[in-house]
Symmetry: C2
Subunit: 339 residues, 2 copies
DNA sequence: TAGTTTCGTGCAATCGATTACACTAAAAAA
DNA sequence: TTTTTTAGTGTAATCGATTGCACGAAACTA
């Protein structure tokens, strides 16, 4: 009784053709008003549901996009995904979400799997370790829109949506300077990733603008977890002239740093100020709330989705957009000396 | 040059039929070894990729499952999803992830959308407010496996994977009692959800086991955010005989409670101990780390996936499994009086 | 040598929806 | 009244892969 109802079933019941039913359901103007109404009502009565697979096969469009991120449980990426969904849902697109866990091979496998699924587009943030670009070219070769958000590689034909990481690094550092910090350290991810490189450049720019000499012993490339933050502080504090502030490219590293500093009995923010990056929710939760650079991930997701939609519309025309959003510094206790 | 290659293209090139190509690629034993090899090599050379849509249309199986959760950025749900993916990926299934944001209508819409996409199964956790069950019956009527994890409704034909919430509540409460707490409060979600009801029952059981009278003014049903935690503490502390401990069904509420308690100058854990539920990562990050009940979400996801796979294999046979996993209490600073 | 298997392929239908093209009857124009 | 439009449907091919059935040739049996 609950077998699938097809347009042929409807056609048989009404003694017409499946073609007519199809046209009626698609509001083809060539169908008479009376037939259309009849078909519509019968379809509803029979609980007809369109078989999207058949449509996809025929049209070559699956109405599905793939979103690839390193982790879905980072608030930053989760928010981006939400932004993408909010923009794409109303347009009838489905979103498949995949995680790479920062593994380049998984990234390649995922992309190939998506290509086999006849996806309409791919929106993604590359892993920290991605070197090869051949899997991206596979996508482009199939004429499938590819959009990078946040973490990107410069590849012709690929649109990108990023924030101004340079400005984020600049604002964070400038803020620390204005709070009176003189010896500002910086922990970053691998400079091979543009976002980290840019934040670092922003950091240097702020220093030089205020005439503070750049010291390379104050800069460290680390993993993005709390332990890395602890290690970094341990090393920094052993320097003959230890820093009095840290701008970290990761909230997790900032957190670890704070934990270690407290262990060492350093007063925050009086003797040491800290600013992180990403504005993860926990930065706000902490008793000693952590200042952080917000990347407006929701908007980033929406922009990425819009860029995708544009590419779908201008079919044939190869557009390549570069959207850059502005970050905003959230100032909290970890860097506010005078309250 | 990058047009799609089909089995017909391969067939034409080799002067054989598409049927033969299909069989060769599927390792059908009726195909001669030589032909098989030839087809395989040609397919590889031509960069042939199977059109999954066509396969899905023909077989009626899409090899895709839908996973529906309230939020993807709760560590609990993200971990479940990861567990599901790890189990299903090797079996060739894709995972579509959807969020309801605790909205019943969104839940209904999502389910219908998934049904239209010819999904092979749905694994989900219902919203806090879900009342209706008609959309679940739609799924069952289509003979599509439906599996609830964590939050469930008792519906015939639906398998469930949950933790023993009663035991979780019991363990947490017992621990507080053993720490010397005498007046233990409890904040819960809506009792309409079994998980909250069960945790509450476990709480009561522990109390009665130790001969501590149950007081209903110590129990409150709240939202699951930090503000709710603050409000709850405010009210509790105004009681003539305020509690000296809190077992909360939510880590976020526990966090809010702790923040408020500190504001009020209450010493934790000496004068007031707190245990949360879910073992969200931040509970460990806090300077004052929060004790919490871990639900082993990764395992929960894997179990849910395995139950789904079983249902797919015993096609026709209606099995209905109820799997119950064990929670484990993570004891941290917020409830450890003597260290 | 004639009859029976076995092996390897081809033929053609099928999954469900879409759509160019063809066709009929009624309406409009001549 | 005859011719031309036009509105409304039907016919059949198509998207790409799968598969039951049929068939010819080779291999085996008697």
């Amino acid at each position: 009784m609950n077998e699938k109802v097809t347009i042929y079933d409807i056609a048989k019941k009404l003694n017409i053709t499946a073609a007519t039913v199809s046209r009626a359901l698609n509001n083809n103007p060539k169908i008479s008003e009376s037939t259309r109404k009849l078909v519509m009502e019968t379809a509803a009565a029979m609980n007809y549901k369109q078989n999207k697979l058949a449509v996809a096969l025929k049209s070559g469009k699956s109405n599905t996009v793939g979103v690839i991120v390193p982790y879905i449980d980072r608030n930053f990426f989760a928010s981006i995904i939400r932004g993408i969904e909010e923009e794409l849902d109303p347009m009838g697109y489905h979103t498949i979400i995949c995680q790479t866990h920062e593994d380049e091979q998984k990234e390649k496998d995922t992309i190939n799997a998506l290509l086999n699924t006849q996806i309409d587009g791919i929106l993604m943030s590359i892993t920290k370790v991605t070197q090869s670009t051949s899997h991206f070219r596979n996508v482009l070769n199939k004429q499938i829109p590819l959009i990078f958000f946040d973490r990107k590689k410069n590849i012709p034909g690929v649109s990108t949506v990023t924030i101004n990481d340079f400005d984020g690094g600049y604002q964070a550092t400038k803020h620390l300077i204005e709070q009176g910090c003189k010896r500002i350290a910086h922990t970053s991810g691998d400079f091979a990733l543009e976002i980290y490189k840019d934040r670092f450049e922003g950091y240097k720019e702020a220093l030089s603008e205020y005439g503070i000499p750049f010291k390379k012993e104050y800069v460290m490339q680390t993993r993005s977890d709390t332990d890395a933050g602890k290690d970094a502080i341990t090393k920094f504090m052993k320097l003959p002239n230890p820093p009095d502030a840290l701008f970290s490219s990761s909230d997790y590293v900032a957190l670890g740093a704070i934990q270690k500093l407290k262990e060492l009995g350093v007063n925050i923010p009086e003797d040491f100020s800290v600013v992180g990056f990403s504005n993860e929710p926990f930065t706000k939760f902490m008793e000693l709330s952590i200042s952080s650079v917000d990347q407006n991930p929701m908007e980033m997701g929406k922009m990425a989705a819009r860029v995708f939609l544009e590419q779908m519309n201008d079919s044939g025309v190869k557009i390549e957009k570069k959207v850059i959003l502005s970050p905003s510094l959230m100032i909290r206790k970890s860097s506010t000396k005078n309250d």
